[in-house]
Amino acid sequence: MDPYALKTLNAERRARRAAILVTDLGDGRDRIVREGDQVAGELGQAIAKAFRSGSSGSVEAEGRTFFLNAHLPQPRLMVIGAVHISQALAPMAKIAGYPVEIVDPRTAFATPDRFPDVALHAEWPEDVLKRQPLDSYTALAAVTHDPKIDDFALKAALDANCFYVGALGSRKTHAKRVERLLALGASADQIARIHAPIGLDIGAASPAEIAVAILAQTIHAFRSRGLEAKGAAA
């Protein structure tokens, strides 16, 4: 392995950015491909697939055998609001492989008693996100219903290009939210990325069912990363 490739790879992994180490198994030469780098042909297609699935493996291309080692950051779910939905969402998302952190400055809601075994921050999103910035491998679900708590986090999630941004509330509530986010400086394209009303339309009624709808939408957003952009370009 090229020492420079190893250094680059570790730097990307530390920064929670996706990278693939491409090794030619014939001559041992290797290089790092970052998400978004253009690679032509069959190899490029295999690389794009590996970025989406996170699966490593060998691929035959251009008469050679390459090994693609996909290093994707662990996706995570940041939930704004220590509410009834979050109580169901946290354990479900953890089982599905999306560790959860919950942020809610209302100390009556954010209690360890209500949220055992969950990373819980009884603080304002402004303070938590300063310490632990959002990134493109983070999903953000804002479920407090309270603009004072949700809005800052939603704007931060759009700016950080979170792979999923969802906000609880009816269409009417969301229309008012759109006005506020525009006033905060978010663009119309950014705001269009928000899933609102939140969750896949499965007719969810109870808090736990809404949690299932949010988790399913999060997984769909994660596994179709990059596909929307391609669809728009075509």
């Binding site: 090794t23 490593s56 493996g57 060998s58 080692n69």
Partner: protein
């Protein structure tokens, strides 16, 4: 399930390999490149080895690491990468096998 969102730097094989390199050590990196049947470690897993035979990480559940380490020391000496294959069918060739019945292919290369 390892659900940590940050790297566990003290146990991460690739971070350790980079540290060894900075310390001026000769290092080999072994990578699982293919698995068949029930294999204990997924494709992409790493074992890193220095010239004294110290190692971190894993390519199996501890079944074949010893053999990979000794091959890795050859690879460090020669600089020539090797493809190793382990499994129940290879017992006579390697004198080691995966008791789980799986088969794995491990690519061993020198760092630098």
């Amino acid at each position: 399930m390892d659900n940590s969102i940050y790297l566990d730097e003290a146990r991460d094989p690739l971070i350790i390999a980079e540290g060894w390199m900075k310390d001026g050590k000769d290092v080999a990196i072994a990578t699982v490149v293919e698995t068949w049947g029930s294999a204990p470690r997924p494709v992409g897993s790493h074992l890193v080895i220095d010239a004294e035979g110290n190692f971190h990480g894993s390519v199996s559940g501890g079944c074949v690491e010893g053999a990979v380490v000794s091959e890795a020391i050859d690879v460090i000496d020669s600089g020539k990468a090797k493809m190793l294959e382990f499994g129940v069918a290879d017992e006579t060739a390697w004198q080691v096998g995966l008791s789980c019945g799986g088969r794995i292919k491990v690519y061993v290369e020198r760092l630098g």
